[in-house]
Every structure is written in C-alpha cells, then in structure tokens.
C-alpha cells in the first residue's frame, strides 16, 4: 500500500499550537507511508488539488488528511480522493484541530499527540478496503411534523415543488403560536391577515394531506424510505360529516371548559372549534369537560348536530404513512410563569403572560380586542411589562435568552397605546435585544413616539394594595429602587422546548440540547440538517426564533428536501455489516440484537442456517459485531481488525510483540 499524508495548518488554527512540519516529517517513517507534506488550507481548492496531484504523481493508494474534525470535512476530502481516482473509503482523517490544537496550548505535547493521531489513522488505512455504495429508490413524499408558521411554510414550498406532503399537527388546527398573535413586529400587521391565507392554501393544496389532532407514534426505516405510524386521536366528532357550523357550541351546556387557544383567558364549551379561522374548521369534544364523559349524561350536541357527526364511541386510530424525508417544525412552548412566586404569577389575576395579553388585544379574542384586565374587567391605565421571565435566569435553569420577547414587548407596548391612548407602559428590562432589520428602529419608535418608559433593572416583587399592583424594581442606571403602581402586569415569559420534544427526538433519533431544543448538524454550515440523514429542522424547535427566521428556515428545510429528492435514487452508505458465511454458525444472536431488523435468517445451499444483512436497512451501528460469538459479522470500515489496529498503534508494547 502507498499512503500519502497531508497535514493542514488551517492558517494558524492548527499551526499556532502544533508543529505541522514536524508532524509531516514524523509520518514519513510510518509503515506504508510514501509521501507526506504539510499544507496551508487542505480544504481549499488548491489544497484539494495538491492532494489529487500527489495521488497521481506518487501513485498513492490511500490518503490521510490531518486537519479538522471528520464531521466537518470528511465528505469534502472523500470527494477529492474520488476525483483522484481512488475509492473514497481509502481515506482517513486525523482530527488535530478540534481534538488537539484548540484544546491544548503546549506546542510540544500537541505535536506529539498529533503524530499519534496521524499514526492511528495510517494504521487503520492500511486495513481499509474499497467499499461500493448501492443505489436505492426513494419515496418522494415528505412528512412535516408541526403546523406552526414554520411547518406551514415548509409544507407549501414542498408542495409547490411538486412533492406530496403529509402534515401532522398535534392540536386540532394548524397555525401554531402565530395564530394566537394579534399583530406582529416589526411591521405591526395583523397576524391572521398574514397567516390566514397560508393556512387556507394548506387546506386547498391537493398535494398536502393534513392530519390534525395527531401525533407521531413510531418512525421506522431510513432516509428515502421512512415508515411512519401516526396516531389520530379521537375527537368524538366524525370530521367527514362535520361542517363546522358551530351549532353544537351554541348549545353545549358545559360552558366552563378550559380555553387552550385563549390561554385560559375566558372559557369555551366542551365541544368546540378553537377559533373561527381554524384549519380544518371542525369540532372536537374535550372529554375532560364534556358532561357525557364526566357525568354520563347529556348528549345535547349529538341531538343538535344537523349532520349527525357526533360519535362518543370514537377511538384513537393508528395510520401508516410512507415518506422519504421528515421536517420537524414542532415549535416551542412558554415558560410556566407560576414559578415566579415573587411576581404573584398564578396568584394575582392581573399578573398575566405575554401570550394571554396577545389574546386580550386580539379582535378575535375573548374581549374582542378591548383590553380589559381579568380581575374586574376594567381598562388598565398603567401597564408594567417585566422582561426575561424564565429567560436569562439560572435560578430557574433557563440561562439562555429567548430572543424574541424584547421585540414582542416593544410591540405590545406600542399596541397598548393604540388601544388605550391615555395609558402608560413601563418596561423593566436588562438589555434590549433587537438585532434584526428595522428592529431597533421599532424599539426606538416605541420609546420616542409612543412614550413607552423603559426602566433598566429587574423586578423583585409584585404585590397588591387595593385594586393596584405595586411593582418594586430597580433602576440600575439611576442607581435606585423604583416602585410603580400598576393596573396590569404582563410577564414576558421565555420560550422553552415544546412539550414532548425530547420524546419525539428519541423517536426520530435526532439529538437535542439540555433544554430540549433540537440540535442542528452544524451551527453555521448545516443549520437545518440534523445528524440523521433525511431529517430536517425548521422554526423554533431548534431554538427560540421569531417569525421571519422561522419562515426562512421552513423554506430552507423545504429546499433541502427538494434537493434530496432531485435524484431518483440515493446512494446507500456502504459502511454496513457483512457476514462471513464460512464462520457463521447460525446462532442468530445478531438477529436478536439488531435494533433495525436488518439481519435475515437464511439457509445456504447445503441447508445450513446462516445470517445475512440487508444492506439498505443496516444503519451501521456495529452492535451485531460485538454480539457475534464467531466474529463472523463485521461492520465494514469498523471491523475488529481495523479498530484493534488503532489500539495497537497507541500501545507500544503490543507493537513490539506483533
């Protein structure tokens, strides 16, 4: 074998703390290494060209690049190696940047470590074999989970691109948080005027299949061929028959049901359509409040319904959808404000959340857009907004900034002045975060034209005296304590990951961070991809995001899926398990172990029991290799031999013996 080694400087990123020339020189003495050099930027066009030329000139049969993490540039170099005429698996990478130069300052120690890492890469490469990918057909349908604005955008873009779309939404209507908003920053246009038409488009687009009040139960398969089990939860109304006439809502006697859409401001009926613009506009019975379910008698809706749509016997139903790609757009949820006992949250009725305030301002809300405070229905004059409630607060385990609350508060203060001209808004803030196009100008307008009073400091407590709420905070710029007598206190509650987000991530086999937000494949270069092929992200499920950013990501994810589906076939990853039939004794321990059911029980032509791997299903985890008592099933590119060669390279005494 003829190995070439290329050691990258990455400008000063590596060369700053690693002696790259020395590493290259040391590599010259490794077995089979016939060429070794250092290079300024290996991934740049001249860098790659240098590798290709060296392969040709020195008749190299394998290449080691010592540079950044393979998670960054392995595909880049594999392509380069392929262009040089080699099989792309005759390539190994030594990570001397993320694992060496960036985490240690001692140049000598770093250099030694880099040499070791190059050595194990070269040793493994000596045992690498060319692998050939197989092609397989893809199912050009896409599943989108979550029908907020991000999911809606992704669905429409995919459908426009000619794909069949399956949109699964947990609640009975699509629209997400945006459907609840009154007006949106920075243009202050009416939320439902912007979103409404898009929702209707979803309903009317023949390429989109909508499953609302549904959740993902199970995900099987792999990129190109996923098999999804969707649970359609029982609504107790036959949606084929329901016309959304709303007669049932008028007559239902259970009028004190919790109104989720209105965030508990006001109540609704047990059978309800959450809001007039709901898509689909269908009724659902809330069994927690329906008298038929809680007390065993009523059935008024069943009698009144002109289409006889009510079905108290309805059961959850599981359906199967086959798709080739998945976009998750499950959004976010809001911090439970009751954790702020010092603000009397959940205790004093006039201390409310920002989302409740949106509903109070909305023309379609329970007060038809008249701002009335919950306690006595009076119009508030002094309104205090408290920022960073459940954000940037380590004591409640939410150290991150929720990103959009500064902006929506600026908006809410401006709208408050529009609604109640003789009102005064106060905003207690720590920093104003408004880094978007026209955003800061918007905040300034609130201050300069609408007279919003910004007070720099947190609030320590809120307490009622008479029918007022005393807000006691600090003005750190003036260096003093400050008290405001408020009629209404609005808490800018932060965003947290959607309820059930970690469980869904586990079902999808994607990663999530400590707070339940989904992990992108690379924070800068792959912001909508995940580490699982064929699964993409859009919107606030990846981290708090406002509407423009969520929509942008929805479109980006759709573009990714369209690009994926632009080919008719995909190449399978050949790093799969392979059975050496001669050693296999047919014990089928591997079959039991494989989490993906990728191993078949077969008989060879003598009728002996053997195992066989279905390449397109095998995910390459290697569990079977460890299980097999005969070492008969080996994960290609990560065989026992290959891994042990790396171990040996690091252990001198073994080197001596072998």
């Amino acid at each position: 074998m003829r190995i070439g080694v290329f050691v990258c400087h990455c400008g000063s990123n590596i060369a700053g703390t690693v002696d790259c020339e020395k590493v290259a020189a040391a590599a010259k003495d490794f077995p089979d290494v016939v060429y070794s050099d250092d290079t300024m930027y290996a991934c740049s066009e001249p860098g790659q060209q240098g590798i290709i030329e060296a392969v040709k000139e020195h008749k190299l049969t394998g290449v080691v690049v010592a540079s950044c993490s393979p998670r960054m540039h392995e595909p880049t170099f594999r392509r380069a190696v392929e262009r040089a005429g080699l099989n792309k698996y005759m390539f190994e990478m030594a990570n001397i940047r993320e694992h060496v130069s960036w985490v240690g300052k001692d140049k000598e120690l770093n250099t030694n470590k880099a040499i070791d890492l190059v050595m194990i890469a070269a040793e493994k490469l000596r045992r690498d074999k060319p692998l050939i990918s197989k092609k397989f057909d893809i199912n050009k349908r896409v599943l989108i989970i979550g029908g907020g604005v991000a999911g809606i955008q992704a669905a429409l873009d995919c459908a426009d691109g000619g794909l069949e779309v399956v949109l699964v939404e947990k609640t009975t209507s699509i629209g997400g948080k945006m459907a609840k908003l009154d007006k949106t920053f920075p243009t202050v246009d009416c939320s439902s005027c912007v979103l409404g038409p898009k929702m209707v488009d979803v309903a009317q687009n023949p390429n989109i299949t909508l499953h609302t009040y549904s959740e993902i139960e199970e995900v099987g398969g792999y990129v190109g061929n996923f098999e999804i089990k969707v649970k359609k939860k029982a609504t107790f109304v036959d949606w084929e028959k329901c016309t959304g006439c709303g007669l049932c809502m008028e007559k239902c006697p259970s009028k004190k049901s919790f109104d989720y859409f209105n965030e508990g401001i006001g109540t609704t009926t047990a059978i309800n359509i959450p809001f007039p613009q709901a898509i689909p506009k269908k009724a659902k019975i809330d069994a927690d409040f329906c008298r038929k379910f809680t007390k065993g008698k009523c059935g008024v809706c069943a009698k009144i319904c002109p289409t006889k749509a009510i079905d108290f016997e309805m059961k959850d139903e599981i359906i199967t959808e086959n798709v080739g790609a998945i976009i998750t757009a499950t959004g976010y949820d809001l911090f439970d404000f009751k954790k702020y006992a010092e603000y009397g949250a959940g205790k004093y009725p006039d201390v409310i959340t920002s989302m409740q305030y949106e509903r109070l301002m909305s023309a379609s809300g329970p007060t038809t857009g008249h701002i009335k405070r919950p306690s006595d229905g009076k119009e508030p004059k002094n309104i205090v907004f408290i920022q960073c409630v459940g954000s940037r607060d380590k004591s409640v385990n939410r150290p991150y900034c929720s990103g959009f609350c500064c902006m929506y508060t600026a908006k809410q203060a401006i709208l408050t002045k529009d609604h109640i001209p003789d009102s005064q808004s106060y905003v207690f803030y720590m920093d104003i975060r408004s880094p978007g196009k026209s955003y800061d100008e918007f905040v300034r307008r609130g201050i300069e034209e609408y007279g919003t009073e910004y007070i720099r400091g947190r609030v320590a407590m809120v307490y009622p005296v008479g029918d007022k709420l005393i807000v006691r905070g600090a003005d750190t710029l003036a260096g003093s304590q400050v008290e405001v007598e408020a009629d209404l206190v609005v808490l800018a509650v932060g965003a947290e990951s959607a309820v059930g987000a970690p469980q869904l991530a586990e079902t999808l086999r994607i990663s999530y961070d400590t707070y339940g937000f989904y992990m992108e494949s690379h924070p800068k270069l792959k912001p909508v991809e995940t580490n699982t092929a064929g699964v993409y992200l859009a919107g606030a499920c990846q981290g708090p995001k406002d509407i423009p950013a969520s929509v942008g990501q929805g479109s980006a994810a759709a573009a990714k899926v369209l690009a994926l589906f632009s080919k008719d076939q995909l190449e399978s990853d050949p790093q799969t398990a392979l059975v050496n039939a001669a050693r296999c004794i047919g014990c089928y321990k591997c079959v039991e172990t494989c989490p993906f059911g990728a191993i078949k029980e077969i008989e060879d032509r003598f009728g002996n029991a053997k195992a066989e791997v279905i390449e397109t299903i095998c995910q390459g985890c290697g569990l079977c290799s460890v299980t097999c008592p005969q070492s008969a099933i080996q994960l290609q590119h990560f065989t026992d031999n290959q891994i042990l060669s790396e171990v040996k390279a690091l252990c001198p005494s073994m080197m001596e013996k072998s």
């Binding site: 993490s69 393979p70 998670r71 960054m72 990570n95 940047r97 993320e98 694992h99 060496v100 960036w102 985490v103 240690g104 300052k105 001692d106 120690l109 770093n110 030694n112 470590k113 070791d116 194990i120 991530a505 586990e506 086999r509 990663s511 999530y512 961070d513 400590t514 992990m519 580490n531 699982t532 790093q575 321990k589 039991e592 172990t593 989490p595 993906f596 995910q619 390459g620 985890c621 290697g622 569990l623 290799s625 460890v626 299980t627 008592p629 994960l635 990560f638 026992d640 891994i643 042990l644 790396e646 171990v647 040996k648 690091l650 252990c651 001198p652 005494s653 073994m654 080197m655 013996k657």
Partner: protein, 164 residues
C-alpha cells in the same frame, strides 16, 4: 488547567460518532482546554465497542481507558448504548480478575452539546489516572493465551446480558 508536562500517560478514549465525538468537537470549537494525554478512537456507536478492545488496550500498556457515548435514551441507533452499558458494567466488574485496577477504566455519557461536561470528564479522568500512575502491567503484559482465557471468562459471565 494543569497539563501533565513531559510525563504524559497513555489514555485511550473510545467515543461514539454522534454524541461524544461531536461533544469533544464542540469542546474544541469552544476552546475548552484539556490535558493532552487522551487519544481518541472514533466508533459509530458505543454499542460497537467490544470489551476485547479495552482489554487489548490494557494488555498493550494503556494507563487508562475511557469510553463515552450518547446519554441513555438518546442513542442515534435507538438502543446501542443500552448494550454498551450492560457490557461495560460487566467488564468493570471483571477487571480486578485480570489484575487491572478498575479505576483505570471509566465509561460516561456526553452529548454533542455538552462541551463543558466533556472538558470535565477529560480533566477528572486524566487526574485520576495520574494519581494511579503508570500502569504496572507494562512490566509483565498478559500473554495472548491469558488474554484468550480472560475473554472467554468475560463472555461466559453468569447471566451476561451483553452476549445474550
């Protein structure tokens, strides 16, 4: 950040590609400084790690072996790390039989986002190995025959969940 200047020990890490290797990358990107002793071998999944690899490493004179994978429930391959956990727990209990101090071996879970945690793991494990000093086995490494015997013992372990 103490770096063990001039007297590095031989520590081998087996890291799964999806969580811990990515976590070590994230630590690099965040410049979370670490002692330099550790050398990382990438495997697709912690479930790919055969206890044999670890024994071989010790046999070859490694002073410490660290395994790190995805948190339970967070495995890219659904359940690989459950297998890993069973096997590695068993190995840990078997190590004394081999004369290897079980403190020289550790397995842990670090996700792709947990850069500070990775730094902490590397720091504390390296500290621990330095407290134990160089592996005494270097003087008299196990023979391959002894090795084979040991491996069969591990495999035959009563109620061994790892090779079910």
């Amino acid at each position: 950040m103490p770096v063990y200047d001039g007297k590095e020990l031989r520590i081998i890490g087996f890291l799964c590609n999806w969580c811990s290797y990515a976590g070590a990358d994230t630590a690099g990107v965040g410049r979370f400084q670490q002692p330099t002793d550790l050398r990382i071998i990438k495997v697709p999944c912690s479930g790919r790690i055969d206890p044999l690899f670890i024994l071989k490493a010790f046999q070859g004179g490694a002073d410490g072996v660290l395994v790190s994978g995805c948190h339970p429930r967070d495995c890219h391959y659904a359940e690989g790390n459950y297998y890993a956990r069973r096997r590695l727990e068993l190995l840990k209990r078997f190590l004394p039989v081999t004369g290897i101090d079980p403190d020289r071996f550790e397995y842990t879970w670090v996700s792709a986002s947990e850069a500070p945690r990775w730094q902490h793991v590397v720091q504390t494990f390296t500290d621990r190995i330095h407290k134990l000093g160089p592996s005494p086995l270097l003087a008299a490494p196990l023979t391959d025959a002894e090795m084979a015997k040991l491996q069969s013992q591990v495999e035959a372990g009563s109620g061994c969940g790892c090779h079910k």
